[in-house]
Amino acid sequence: MKEMVTEIIAEVLRVEPQKIAPSLSIGDIPEWTSMAQMGLISALEARLGIEIPIEDLFDLTNVQALIDEVEKLKAGA
């Protein structure tokens, strides 16, 4: 799951997957803009068949948080 999420993030942000470290946060790289963040959420939902609760969005500010969220939602599905 970690690899899949990382791949999606790299694709949306249009950066190499090697750049996507777990600690990478919104705004750390110029590509991770607010528009990119919205695209990221949409892409994760569409590609992984999940729906991220609105109340969770606030804390999804770095790669690890996104991975954890996806794993949580997949486990609960």
Partner: protein, 471 residues
């Protein structure tokens, strides 16, 4: 040496009277007014050592960070003209701007030696050009707007007067510095001797809130798309900070009425000031949400007594209250003129700058904006010329097309571009066209909706009638 720049005069004054007062914060680094003055001097010296002289153009890429501030004001100190460049601008636009202004150099950083000062420059005037800022332009050709030192000071002075903020303010700046809004906030705060905490952007809402808490922020500026983003990603958590937020400045696009009402509820004691203006005539009108709660559609009235707004018909005659016409502006912050003198020929009715916006004034003096500048597409505050996008599409061998703004289905960006492709005019699919133009345009300019069209509506003279397709 600083008589030509009222803003620098104030920075120098604060450097003397309150040397340790924090002017700027970036990534946990605080810069006092005395440090700011010294770094502006050092930047000016560094620019001079690279051969820049008064009236030379300097391309300055507005990367977020304090280097931009030092270079920007350092250039102004020695009469060098800033050509402010968007870090996201595509190569075609950059080349166009470079070819017009012929900057001596284009930089986003500068090696400076602390403690150095420039050679004094004489003969500079407040009417000299401080900045050239390029607009999008309704014809698809970007126009260079020449703003004098007096213009940029006057704009900041007008804004501060309306908002009513003081030197005790601590503002969070998440806006980009390459556009009039963010750059204006920078000038406003330094003019007041206040403190500006600079963030990379608003993208990390959690970090934005953390900054409000950490620095005890009292204000910020945002575009409506950022409010929609903050709302989506944090709900109404921001209301927690309402008691400490004295002011919010909003602009660059219209805010939905329901959002205005909600902001009034979330920030009951905050001055929520929404401006109307253009790069050519910065923040010409303002309205405050609480004061206009019964008339939230208005764009308000003139920002100060030094600005006059009139509505003219196509012949340049003023219309009566209630009648619509072109919004035209005269004032201390209206540009010196366009960089290309030919563009000035039809830009004015007498002393009044023609905005190209349709509006009217009610009998109580409140102004209303009826339609945005012709067919410009407003994507979350960023203006997109349909002609630029159409040219990119047609460059792929598509016979003809027309691009218009349509409401963002997600309700965040206001408008998004939609392309109508002439049926039978290409063998490419929409996906193929999109893939080919992605490298030619900034991401926000790429159409998100596509449709075939049998015929493109045009006038008798062949001009595309885009407004007929706007939904």
């Amino acid at each position: 040496m600083i008589g030509h720049s009222p803003i620098l005069q104030k920075v120098w004054e604060y450097a003397a009277s309150r040397p340790d007062k924090v002017a700027l914060v970036w990534s946990d680094e605080s810069v006092s007014y005395s440090q700011l003055k010294n770094r502006i001097l050092a930047a000016a010296a560094a620019l001079q050592s690279k051969g820049l002289n008064a009236n030379d153009c300097l391309g300055i890429v507005a990367k977020k960070g304090l280097d931009f501030v030092y270079i920007y004001f350092g250039a102004q100190l020695i009469g060098v003209v800033n050509v402010v460049l968007d870090p996201e601008a595509n190569e075609k636009r950059l080349e166009y701007i470079r070819s017009l202004t012929n900057p001596k150099m284009v930089i986003d950083s500068l090696e400076m030696v602390e403690g150095t000062t420039p050679n004094p420059i004489c003969g500079l005037s407040q009417n000299d050009t401080a900045d050239i800022v390029f607009t999008t332009g309704t014809t698809g050709v970007a126009k260079g707007v020449c703003l004098s030192h007096f213009n940029i000071f006057s704009s900041a002075d007008n804004i501060n007067g309306f908002i009513g903020n003081g030197p005790e303010e601590i503002e969070i700046l998440g806006l980009p510095l390459c556009h009039s809004f963010g750059l204006g906030r920078l000038r406003c705060m330094l003019l007041k001797g206040a403190t500006l905490v600079v963030l990379p952007s608003f993208a990390n809402v959690k970090a934005f809130f953390a900054a409000i808490e950490k620095y005890h922020a009292t204000g910020f500026g945002m575009v409506p798309a950022i409010w929609a983003y903050i709302r989506k990603f944090s709900g109404t958590r921001i209301a927690k900070y309402a008691p400490q937020i004295k002011y919010i400045e909003i602009g660059s696009a219209a805010m939905p009425i329901e959002s205005k009402k909600e902001l009034c509820e979330l920030f009951p004691t905050t001055r929520i000031c929404h401006h109307y203006g253009l790069t050519e005539a910065s923040r010409a009108a303002f309205m405050e949400y609480h004061a206009c709660v019964n008339d939230l559609r208005t764009i308000g009235k003139e920002v100060s007594g030094k600005v006059s707004i009139r509505i003219f018909n196509e012949n340049g005659s003023e219309v009566q209250d209630g009648e619509s016409g072109e919004i035209c502006i005269k004032g201390n912050m209206v540009m010196k003129g366009y960089f290309n003198p030919e563009e000035n020929v039809t830009a004015y009715f007498g002393e009044y700058f023609r905005t190209g916006d349709e509006g009217c004034r009610a009998t109580d003096g409140n102004l209303y904006l009826l339609s945005r500048k012709k067919e410009l597409i407003n994507v979350g505050g960023k203006k997109v010329s349909p002609i630029e996008v159409e040219d990119a599409i047609i460059a792929q061998g598509v016979e003809d097309c027309v691009v218009v703004g349509v409401p963002d289905p997600d309700g965040i960006l206001g408008e998004v571009p939609k392309a109508y492709i002439l049926k039978g005019g290409t063998s490419l699919s929409f996906e193929e066209i999109k893939a080919r133009i992605i490298g030619m345009l900034e991401p926000y300019k790429v159409p998100v909706a596509w449709e075939w069209i049998d015929t493109i509506p045009k006038t008798a003279s062949g001009k595309k009638q885009r407004l007929q397709l706007k939904k």
